[in-house]
Subunit: 241 residues, 2 copies
């Protein structure tokens, strides 16, 4: 089990720096660690989760299920993500989270939220910040799904996924990142059918722009991809809890 001061995520610039006191507070809130296997549901829509998690390792999907069984992937889950905050401040979870790969999680009890707000205004602020970052990411996705064509959406998503993976040190020397999701996950995230998603990915591959296959993503012509995506904005820096 990691001590917070040795947290493997600290070293990435993507995360906001924090003070000695903040580390100690986080440490004192930490209830333990947990490992789950690929495919395991972690949080369920409608449930009232007593726990909060910070992802230390692994990836997953955050999704909403409609009454008729359709699924909207709201966001992909990466290391550093803080899960369950919505359930903690609102009544219940508004979405589900499922592990795509094996995951390592840092576990907090829901009750520590109050401890955080009471003992550290800075960390309370950070919780709001985390929620704001999530809203921003969802709003960006909404913009892409609402306004762009299939090719643009897929390009946007691949670029975003690549950047997020890089931000937590997952890129190898050749500029390849692991991307263990199914094409169906991407389709459900971007509001496209599986078939059309597949054909669009094939086009990006044959045009030598990006290649996502065998669970690995490589950007071959990043400029072209960013052009299609309509943006190549830097990721927002964000706090880590």
């Amino acid at each position: 089990m990691y001590m917070c001061k040795n947290c493997p995520l600290h070293r990435f610039d993507y995360f906001d720096e924090f003070s000695q006191e903040e580390i100690e507070l986080t440490q004192s809130c930490k209830a333990g660690e947990m490992r789950i296997e690929a495919g395991t549901p972690l949080l369920a829509q409608g449930a009232k989760s007593p726990q909060l998690f910070t992802v230390l390792k692994g990836m997953g999907v955050r999704y909403r299920t409609l009454e008729d069984g359709q699924r909207q992937v709201v966001n992909f889950v990466f290391p550093g993500d803080f899960l369950g905050l919505q359930a903690a401040v609102m009544e219940e979870m508004k979405h589900s989270v499922e592990a795509t790969t094996d995951m390592h999680l840092c576990v907090f009890d829901r009750k520590v939220l109050w401890k955080i707000y009471r003992s550290s205004p800075e960390r309370g602020f950070d919780l709001t910040w985390l929620a704001a970052v999530e809203e921003h990411m969802v709003a960006e996705a909404l913009t892409s799904v609402g306004q762009q064509t299939a090719l643009e959406r897929i390009s946007w998503a691949l670029l975003r996924l690549y950047n997020r993976a890089c931000a937590v040190g997952l890129a190898d020397n050749a500029g390849v990142v692991p991307l263990p999701f199914r094409q169906q996950d991407l389709a459900d995230a971007m509001g496209l059918s599986l078939v059309h998603t597949n054909k669009t990915l094939a086009k990006l591959r044959s045009d030598n722009i990006a290649d996502w296959s065998d669970g690995r993503l490589q950007l071959i012509d990043r400029a072209k991809l960013a052009d299609l995506a309509g943006t190549d904005a830097d990721l927002e820096k964000r706090p880590l809890i």
Copy 2:
């Protein structure tokens, strides 16, 4: 100028109740009031707003602009909404806000955020809660835009707008609410073209399900509309600041 204890929004069940101390804290943070005309931009994407606003009266749209000029309406703005929080916790505004009608706003200085976190854990919690509610609303919209047909999306949006208007007391006896937006706004919110939005609204009208015309919305067959929308969930209760 209203005293917070006489805030016209308190009385609605939609908002979380709060204590005497919370009212006093809010009052001590309030910098003043402001009125703006219909059509005025209130917050601009990319800007670093020094102010936060609570909407007392009026409506607006919150939208993101793409490089090529396309527009995604992220949410509609109603009384009780707290604007500018994202700019306050992140570096800058990630979207713009424009008044659709004349608006009355309660104004706070950005600096009071720290005062709130320091002096009241409960109100700090509420700020996170507000951000979480916003994320939830955007995620719901993403689900609709990503998974539903035009008829379903428009139905979902009308029902949601109706419920939000009712929650702040805008319905008259006949079950009609004011809805001063343009069809283009709804189209940009739901990822549809103006023409198709218009035809879809016409269909709902001729099928005697819902009638939005002349800036007024009436639900004629609410059950049918909810059926098309896929849901008629209650609005999340939320804090008011």
